[in-house]
Symmetry: D3
Subunit: 263 residues, 6 copies
Amino acid sequence: MRENTLKAIWARGDAVINGWLAIPSAFSAEVMAHQGFDSLTVDMQHGVVDYQAAVTMLQAISTTPTIPLARVPWNDPGFSMKVLDAGVFGLICPMINTRADAEALVRACKYPPLGYRSFGPVRASIYAGPDYGDRANADVLVIPMIETKQAVENIDDILSVPGIDAVYVGPADLSLSLGCAPGLDKTDPPVVDAIRKILAACKRHRIIAGLHNNTVAYAQKMINDGFQFVTIASDSRFLAAKASEEVAALRKSGVRTGRLPAY
Amino acid sequence: MRENTLKAIWARGDAVINGWLAIPSAFSAEVMAHQGFDSLTVDMQHGVVDYQAAVTMLQAISTTPTIPLARVPWNDPGFSMKVLDAGVFGLICPMINTRADAEALVRACKYPPLGYRSFGPVRASIYAGPDYGDRANADVLVIPMIETKQAVENIDDILSVPGIDAVYVGPADLSLSLGCAPGLDKTDPPVVDAIRKILAACKRHRIIAGLHNNTVAYAQKMINDGFQFVTIASDSRFLAAKASEEVAALRKSGVRTGRLPAY
Amino acid sequence: MRENTLKAIWARGDAVINGWLAIPSAFSAEVMAHQGFDSLTVDMQHGVVDYQAAVTMLQAISTTPTIPLARVPWNDPGFSMKVLDAGVFGLICPMINTRADAEALVRACKYPPLGYRSFGPVRASIYAGPDYGDRANADVLVIPMIETKQAVENIDDILSVPGIDAVYVGPADLSLSLGCAPGLDKTDPPVVDAIRKILAACKRHRIIAGLHNNTVAYAQKMINDGFQFVTIASDSRFLAAKASEEVAALRKSGVRTGRLPAY
Amino acid sequence: MRENTLKAIWARGDAVINGWLAIPSAFSAEVMAHQGFDSLTVDMQHGVVDYQAAVTMLQAISTTPTIPLARVPWNDPGFSMKVLDAGVFGLICPMINTRADAEALVRACKYPPLGYRSFGPVRASIYAGPDYGDRANADVLVIPMIETKQAVENIDDILSVPGIDAVYVGPADLSLSLGCAPGLDKTDPPVVDAIRKILAACKRHRIIAGLHNNTVAYAQKMINDGFQFVTIASDSRFLAAKASEEVAALRKSGVRTGRLPAY
Amino acid sequence: MRENTLKAIWARGDAVINGWLAIPSAFSAEVMAHQGFDSLTVDMQHGVVDYQAAVTMLQAISTTPTIPLARVPWNDPGFSMKVLDAGVFGLICPMINTRADAEALVRACKYPPLGYRSFGPVRASIYAGPDYGDRANADVLVIPMIETKQAVENIDDILSVPGIDAVYVGPADLSLSLGCAPGLDKTDPPVVDAIRKILAACKRHRIIAGLHNNTVAYAQKMINDGFQFVTIASDSRFLAAKASEEVAALRKSGVRTGRLPAY
Amino acid sequence: MRENTLKAIWARGDAVINGWLAIPSAFSAEVMAHQGFDSLTVDMQHGVVDYQAAVTMLQAISTTPTIPLARVPWNDPGFSMKVLDAGVFGLICPMINTRADAEALVRACKYPPLGYRSFGPVRASIYAGPDYGDRANADVLVIPMIETKQAVENIDDILSVPGIDAVYVGPADLSLSLGCAPGLDKTDPPVVDAIRKILAACKRHRIIAGLHNNTVAYAQKMINDGFQFVTIASDSRFLAAKASEEVAALRKSGVRTGRLPAY
């Protein structure tokens, strides 16, 4: 089986730099796979990406050593198993709020006797190799999202479920759940406090802590605090940011440019 | 018919800021359509975009007042007419090197008696309005690319063909044709000289001069020189640039990050 | 945020004319968006339309002021949230039979504290504007379908759930549930009676009543009775009806036409 | 090989009723294939349909005995051969204006020794049967469009090219070419006169005459005049017509309906 | 309604030879539909096939008399109903382990009063005919998978649920569940024993027994044992097997061939 | 730049085993890329594959060291350049019959000064590396098809055009052109004789000889004769062959199986 290199990065104590894919295109995924990320996550929850497009994106990622991950829309066994069969080396699942949620997630992602994942890794065994079936339970990462007040309260219950490799903090949902405005790179004390609690719990349970960030500066701070799985923005945010910066720079440069009527 | 607002911008003496679409996705096209460009060109030549994807991208652009353009792969009447029917307000065609090339292009893009474009604007008349058929000959822009030594030599012949609204300089092909390395934002004297000649000829023939650029600085200079249709980079370049900048910034920040083996 | 104009129509006491999309094509959706409907519903339940096609159809609708709605296949939070993120201004959900069903639906469609919708309106905030997150709870319509005997019995329980804007009656399922033949424009007394009860309950709870119809005549009657959200047939029914009418008219006209063997 | 039933209809002296597909969807194609047409033409010229979508539409037509035809965008051998390999039983080609055009078309559509079509009927031999290669030259229809003043002048030259089965008149282009407004169901004397000349020439050369029509009434008249291949409108026109009729009927019925602001 | 010919085959006491589709392509599906299978199952669980691709594959199958079936990813009513509406004549559902699972499956697949399937057979009534609604409850097959230790223990409970036509044994999951290595054509005594028990229960309940096999030899044995619904391998396995056999034969033939570096 | 390993195989005097892709699916392409071929050719001429599908198939091939090639539908510069930009390492072009045809092909495939290929290797430089532009003229293979009587007569003229790396014999077209039945693995003396002449000319001009074959036995013989580029069948032929063999074996095994009515 192809090595899941994220595990080695984590074992060295280093942080994984993860990219995020919301554009449903295998070409933009291939472009992203050449920019130096350790892993790329196909976002099937908020990204504009459904299963069939996701498979072509995973193929595009597989043209490089970048590790392919996916976020599923919800904790649904049929959906999670289908994405695992497509050959991801880790599955991020939103809104894991209780020990029961976490157990359901893990059991859907693991073959018996650890769970009830159905056997048929049609693309996964092509991507990963013929011994995929033997090694998937050990090598494919299960990554619940911790993103509600309730999840923070239940953090020890959740993290003590065997089979969880990492957690992923969704700051926008966590903020909303705590009565704060949604967003990334949050500095509101309740959110900062919750993130700190999650990180501490991860350390206690020897589980990798991950986080979605908007900027390098915040991601850097989070790594220094102990997070080992950090995402910066996403493909569509990168695209919008760069394009608008360039257009604005040219418009502000003093040259005479047209401008369409606002809408 | 919806107004082709590029004409008004040009009539004021201003420059159009054009964006470039190489990613075959209606979602990334919609993102680009919200970043402030006056027009967006679906690149069906070097972009990874064929007709069926292009139509969905044109629809995405049509959700905004941004003017939709396309570059066709070659000067082929069947292809050009099909793209015009899809509702673009301007057609950029590569490698127009002679008066005959230019005449063939114009005739494929104009209904009789100006040309032999076949009538059937199935989507164009939805996008542009029921009077599209009456106004297309006047309002839809024909934009040959001037990108070879031969074209520069024939520039007056080409520009005197009735029906040409603008020209578009492809610096990479122009450079290769002149024995220079391909690229954008060129400073090699033969290329600079050729670009100057093209611009001067455009002024003589009262035709808009356009150019593909890589940076704001170069585009700004070109506008100051008299170009009124400038593109900066493309969606896939923006994406690659921003993503690699952010990853590099994080890796250089001093935090401990993993790195996959090179390949 | 773009205004959800359906609310203004309803506030004036008028009825919304809704179109229905079962063909998985952004082009046919764009054609429909130019025929004068106030809103168009992408039918992801019985229509031949999955998420990825639906997004391109929503983009096609967004080229006009027609309000985009979707019907989801089932009351499933992951699915509903994903469709909301794609930028619909209202979500129709089948088979809401109990107060618990209705509460689950509303909670999946509303951000905290009204519900647990996850935050990430990736296309919705492009379509609707950057303040989408602040206004979605108020402006995006939640429309349960009332289409079973059980739902009619529980109508007051269902309609008293806060956050429901309208209901949509599915006459075919309602008929089957009441022991009648499935169909639209029903005149069977049990179905008529159930529809009357639903309408009366809507009036009591100040909730908009909606209905799927097959003909203008029935829709007209329903508007006169007080329904303010009416659909007529669907794109595929329009297509089949018009095509078969024209073929039949020509065959019956007395000219000699061929006819393929029946199949 | 499956029988090309159009030949039998024509042999009886009857007219073929043909449907027209501009919507790039296998589902709408399947709907159309059940409405009683003798043949359906996938319009790859003005329709919003490229090759890959066309194949799925041909498969949808193949679920019924309706005969599949296609119109190609231009007289281009690579394109025509590719569409023939996809399994059409007739190919309509626009803008055949001279004997040389007609010969080029026929030669691209026929295997040696009649032409130079390349052998590889990958889907055609599945659809039509294993003897497709032996019978294609005889059974697959070659149908040039006669739609310019020049073509009418050259009509005898064109029709005397061996291998032409029928011609198809494009009234919109013919009108433009004759200095009249483009459209269908034309009554302008120059257009009517040209159509009459084409029909007379077809009778002289024992070639089937075909025509694109907008209404049953006009198609009926044309059949009575001797046309044996008539199309009425298209899928997207049927859809737009029926939808707008129904919306208008409801709005005019006197009930109170909303109306979005015009745009 | 088109006849569901599987029922007649079974009534004669014969076995149905079923093919399996994991490649998301209507063309490969059409190729498979011409190879002599009685039925073809679109595998939406482990196959690389989502709903929108599945519909085009069902259309491809519908070009022949081969009976179209599908396996859904999970026992989810919204998903099952959507696939039934697409026109399958039987639905295979994984992981039915209890009577409650079986009842939920049957109820989602049957219209009232037998279940709560929602009415809207948009493509099914085109494929099967206008009386589809009346006959679907009787003619569309419901086929739970028996593939866990728990399911074998509950086999009589499951098979006594009215509305089940056949069961389908998944040997890989059954093996895992019994502590054996996953695979097909199993000879491990616990698996063989479980399969024997399932078969015996099917005979008791007069329900058709089905099984996934890897080879003709095993399928042959299973038919002789009493299975009446057998699958051999799948499209992607056939493709991989034949291609690798041919490449290996040529490399071993003694001719000098290159070989890329292993990876 | 990634090495074009075919050149090294040929330099050693060995034969390249090439696979052929006619199914428009990135998944089946990925399956084929794992079966041991040295190269895979996406067939855009007779295969059911257009540009947009081809790109996803090239990505699938790029997940392995298998070298990606494509056959274009015709000798058309716009099309050939677009496929080269997509990242193939060799281009097979049908029906090269004269020195002028060969020169046109080479010039479209080579950057100046060797040709007039337009510069914009948007995916090629991602796949092959940033130095693609410098090395493409030397490393990307140009492979005309020799498949007509005329081409055999002109073979020395064709092969003396600088820039041709290999030729590919299409036995079906060659047979038709020589008055024989189309097919592969031909033994008709005129075809065998023509193939021998082509091979001898290749040796004279130090150009690689390639051939399409149906069976291992014939391919083996051709390699022994001196061919260094051999294809066996195609993905869709492999699929059809294996599936029909297995079904036939089971039906003939003596077990009782059903059989659908022939069609």
